[in-house]
């Protein structure tokens, strides 16, 4: 090879061309059950400008690829990226973006969905939840593992709208802690919403845990209204369904993830091989001698 580095560069370009050709989003088919739109939602997603690795509109596209209808961008103690995402994502074919925040305090993490302004973290959870409600949003306990339990007192649990019962950490910790918290939550709020969220930052787990939201419309307002009314179903990592038994029955077998055509998967494989090998070549190899 006369100029191996140039060849490596050409491989990168070929990878980008193939990757672009393989970048087709699946068709959106609204799921209707009992007069509701069943929105597949991931209500705990991070993005760039926070500690997520993609721009919010790109996360929304990846969410669409995984069959989600809506995501809430919930960066830690800020809403700027979420607002940008809500504005841009619909123009780029992504899932609907709801503005959210992961209120990250030393003793608790709380997801706020459907808000517009950031909510301070230097307050008790019950007060933070009141602020979420004052903005018309819904409040969800984020990954309430044992370390956070002492902060979730009775007053806080009574004001909560939902709790995460499926989260990626349960894939290695098991489902018990979140199930136990959810039982405790349901004692205080019998109609509280069951939520499955991926807490996505990086890699391909957006939508790994998801919430089926029975909404009256495909909108952020309808999403929040349904969460606050407890019209959700979530499956935990053990396969147990949580939520109103009537809604679980109405949902039936959860829809399968969208499958890519084989040509698209193969093209994506070729694209990443070309791009990664090409980049390695650009790094490792000398260019043509002068």
């Amino acid at each position: 090879m006369r100029d191996a580095r140039a060849f490596a560069g050409a491989l990168v370009v070929a990878g980008l061309v193939a990757g672009t050709a393989a970048d087709r989003l699946p068709e959106v088919r609204p799921l209707l059950r009992g007069g509701y739109f069943v929105l597949q939602a991931d209500l705990h997603v991070h993005s760039f400008l926070g500690d997520g690795t993609l721009w919010p509109w790109d996360v929304a596209r990846e969410a669409r690829r995984r069959g989600l209808d809506v995501i809430a961008i919930t960066n830690h103690n800020q809403v700027l990226a979420a607002r940008l995402g809500r504005w841009l994502a619909p123009h780029l074919g992504g899932a609907l973006v709801a503005v959210g925040e992961e209120i990250t305090a030393p003793g608790y993490h709380l997801i706020a969905v459907g808000i517009d302004a950031p909510i301070g973290w230097q307050q008790a959870p019950a007060q933070a939840i009141d602020e979420v409600h004052a903005q018309g949003g819904a409040a969800i306990a984020a990954h309430p593992t044992l370390v956070f339990w002492p902060t979730w007192d009775q007053a806080a649990l009574r004001s909560l709208d939902g709790a995460e019962v499926c989260h990626p950490l349960t894939y290695y910790q098991g489902p018990e802690y979140l199930r136990a918290f959810f039982r405790r939550f349901k004692l205080e709020r019998p109609h509280g919403a069951a939520v499955g969220s991926s807490d996505w930052h990086v890699f391909r787990s957006v939508g790994l845990c998801r919430t089926f939201v029975f909404a009256t419309a495909r909108s952020e307002r309808a999403l929040v209204e349904a969460i606050r009314a407890g019209r959700t179903v979530a499956y935990d990592v053990g396969g147990t369904a949580h939520g109103d038994p009537g809604l679980v029955a109405l949902l039936g077998t959860p829809p399968a993830l969208p499958a890519e055509p084989r040509w698209q998967s193969l093209l994506a494989l070729a694209a990443r091989l070309c791009a990664l090998v090409g980049m390695a070549g650009v790094l490792f190899l000398r260019g043509r001698a002068a």
């Binding site: 990757g19 970048d23 790109d58 800020q78 030393p106 391909r204 994506a268 791009a275 490792f284 190899l285």
Partner: protein, 204 residues
């Protein structure tokens, strides 16, 4: 990293100067700092941003579309920008009269190969890991990140010794200044936006 800053037609090795610097940093930097700077200005920082774009597009989407790679490259371009800022700061403090800033930037970027290699490997493993198994990937990342960190610090040490001509104390100060300039703005951003303080206070 990434580019060959000197063109040596007598050398049969097919490997880039970044490989030479990574494998024998002291000798390679001594050799490379003697000649004039080659390569296009800012080629290495731009390629760094492209690398980050490809890595995150593959890791997060499994397909490096031009749109996603460009978006990730723009988003993560603060990384090479901070690296340039660190070279400017250390050059102003320690090597202003010794070599041109352009040469310092090019030679500095040659030392990024360990992180670039690690990122490419993480992206390759991530693309073959199913989402339910990502916890293993996180563990692998945390365990192996020490390797590029220590390796690149060793290269940086030789950069300050051989290219800037500093003694051990000066090289240590330059290393500290480099880390402050690279990590400081990121920490300040996360502190100013309230994303860091609660975690520091709560330990979670």
């Amino acid at each position: 990293m990434l580019l060959q800053t000197r063109r040596d037609t007598t050398r049969p090795m097919p490997w880039s100067d970044a490989v030479r610097v990574s494998s024998h940093p002291a000798g390679a930097y001594t050799d490379l700092s003697r000649g004039p700077a080659g390569g296009r200005f800012l080629e290495s920082p731009v390629l760094s941003a492209l690398l980050l774009g490809v890595v995150f597009a593959v890791a997060d989407s499994n397909r490096p579309s031009a749109w996603l790679v460009a978006g990730c490259a723009v988003a993560w371009s603060f990384v090479p920008a901070l690296q340039i800022a660190s070279v400017v700061a250390t050059w102003l403090a320690f090597a202003r009269g010794r070599l041109a800033l352009r040469g310092a930037i090019q030679l500095h970027f040659l030392g990024h190969l360990p992180w670039s290699l690690w990122l490419l490997l993480v992206a390759a493993v991530a693309s073959a890991t199913s989402p339910p198994n990502e916890a293993r990937l996180w563990k692998l990342m945390f365990v192996t990140a020490a390797i590029p960190f220590l390796w690149s610090r060793a290269i940086g040490w030789h950069f300050f010794r051989r290219v800037y001509g500093l003694g051990p104390r000066g090289a240590l100060l330059a290393t500290l200044l480099h880390l402050v300039v690279v990590l400081g703005p990121v920490a300040v951003f996360f502190l100013a936006t309230g994303q860091l303080a609660p975690r520091l206070l709560g330990g979670r």
